[in-house]
Symmetry: C2
Subunit: 269 residues, 2 copies
């Protein structure tokens, strides 16, 4: 998917909502455990109930790997279901990968070719040659960790490197990499006050913003400082939407929470 | 496995060799492609031929994920085969994971409980709460990326942060984390000249050292600057050993290359 297509979808739906499909079998409605594939059954119900409100879905790989082969089969079914039924929706493999070039190329193949995700999250620590194999794919997007939503972001990301914070070095340096136009960045909603500075470095790049909801980030603040001319934001909510209810009404409850966020987004656009 | 058990095994075998099981179906002997599970058939033959020469095996997850469910089944069979037949051998899931705490906990479960690896490699960019869920497992080891073997290591890892290089901050900060005694570190063999400085910060921690062989690192240099009282080194070679031949003699050829390295290590101990 091109960035332009993503922007069109945001304008059509009046939404820049991304729903995190972080399926934990201890939190989903217990009646689903009787299904042959409870994880996929849960995802399908959430997608069916919310696809008109969201422009992106983001499964976090950890939740699927934790269930072994069955988890990865459920992930495969989920991305196939999205690509077949909602090809206009942007898909994000939240995998936070990154390795030496030869090896990053294998990860890029897994996520972009085999699973056919539109994008993957990547960690910057290993530098240019660990990221460029992902960037080489046309109309695929590499979402680099810049400033994450967790407390540990202050351990290294905000430390001063030669006069400015490490995450700013990551932003500036990555812009110079080959096919840098395929980069998006993770910036946590809990760090909204940093967004004005970030926009000076990357005025138009899309930002994937986790941390609204369960982690305490504020949507209005994020938009005030982070919105670009082309919107440039994907706001992710996972637990706040998908676990709104753990009864038989879980999908309707998720849709209600998603609609609340979409309506707020409509007013902010 | 405890660190003490690993040290005993190193002394018993007179080896601190780790063999990287990075299986690429385009590089393995073509007669194996007729096997039901070519990846596992390859790994089993390599393990059978080299287990007396190596103290650790390190599958890199990217190579398995690139083959989808079949790749992950082969990974499961490989780790089960090692744990059942060679429980004295240290196993490393080279996965370079790291996420917010809740999510890192799911990765830790996948690698330490379900797959039952002795250790996993983790990226430090997201800080303390992204690593501590791995550290919480007793007698399991978290191998944190410090100074990697690739060119991109110079993009961020060696940049000066408040007076010293970022990788040194990673070493010093991580030492203070809860259960920090379960940490080991990745330091590339191509950066041997940095090892003396690294040993001032972490005199006894084990270092996983990739980059000897195909990437050009020098074993003597690494030992000169990096060996600790308890050896404290696991030297990894992947392509240089497992692809020594792509004929029917591939396992014997791998054993020969492994034996060459083991004999060099014997002299250096």
């Amino acid at each position: 998917m091109t960035t332009q297509e993503l922007v069109q979808e945001i304008k059509r739906k009046r939404s820049f909502l991304c729903i995190g499909l972080d399926v934990d079998l201890t939190k989903i409605p217990q009646h689903l455990l009787k299904e042959e594939d409870p994880i996929f059954a849960f995802n399908k119900a959430i997608i069916d109930a919310t696809h008109h409100l969201a422009v992106a879905y983001k499964p976090n790989l950890a939740f699927y790997e934790a269930y072994g082969i069955k988890g990865l089969e459920a992930l495969g079914k989920t991305i196939d279901y999205l690509n077949q039924n909602h090809p206009e929706i942007f898909t994000i493999a939240d995998a936070k990968r990154g390795d030496i070039g030869n090896t990053s190329g294998m990860y890029a193949k897994a996520f972009f070719e085999d699973l056919n995700f539109d994008s993957v999250t990547v960690a910057p620590y290993m530098g240019k040659d660990s990221v460029e194999p992902f960037l080489a794919y046309e109309n695929k997007h590499t979402i680099l960790l810049a400033l994450t939503s967790n407390a540990g972001a202050y351990d290294f990301q905000t430390r001063e490197v030669e006069g400015e914070e490490l995450y700013k070095h990551v932003l500036k340096t990555s812009k110079t990499w080959k096919n840098g136009q395929n980069l998006m960045y993770v910036v946590g909603a809990t760090k909204a006050e940093f967004l004005a500075e970030i926009r000076k470095i990357i005025p138009e790049s899309f930002l994937l913003v986790p941390g609204v909801g369960a982690q305490g980030g504020n949507l209005q603040e994020v938009c005030k400082y982070g919105m670009s001319q082309n919107v440039g934001l994907l706001i992710n909510s996972s637990r706040g939407i998908i676990y709104a209810s753990n009864g038989k009404d879980f999908a309707e409850a998720a849709a209600e929470k998603a609609a609340e966020l979409q309506q707020q987004m409509d007013r902010l656009l």
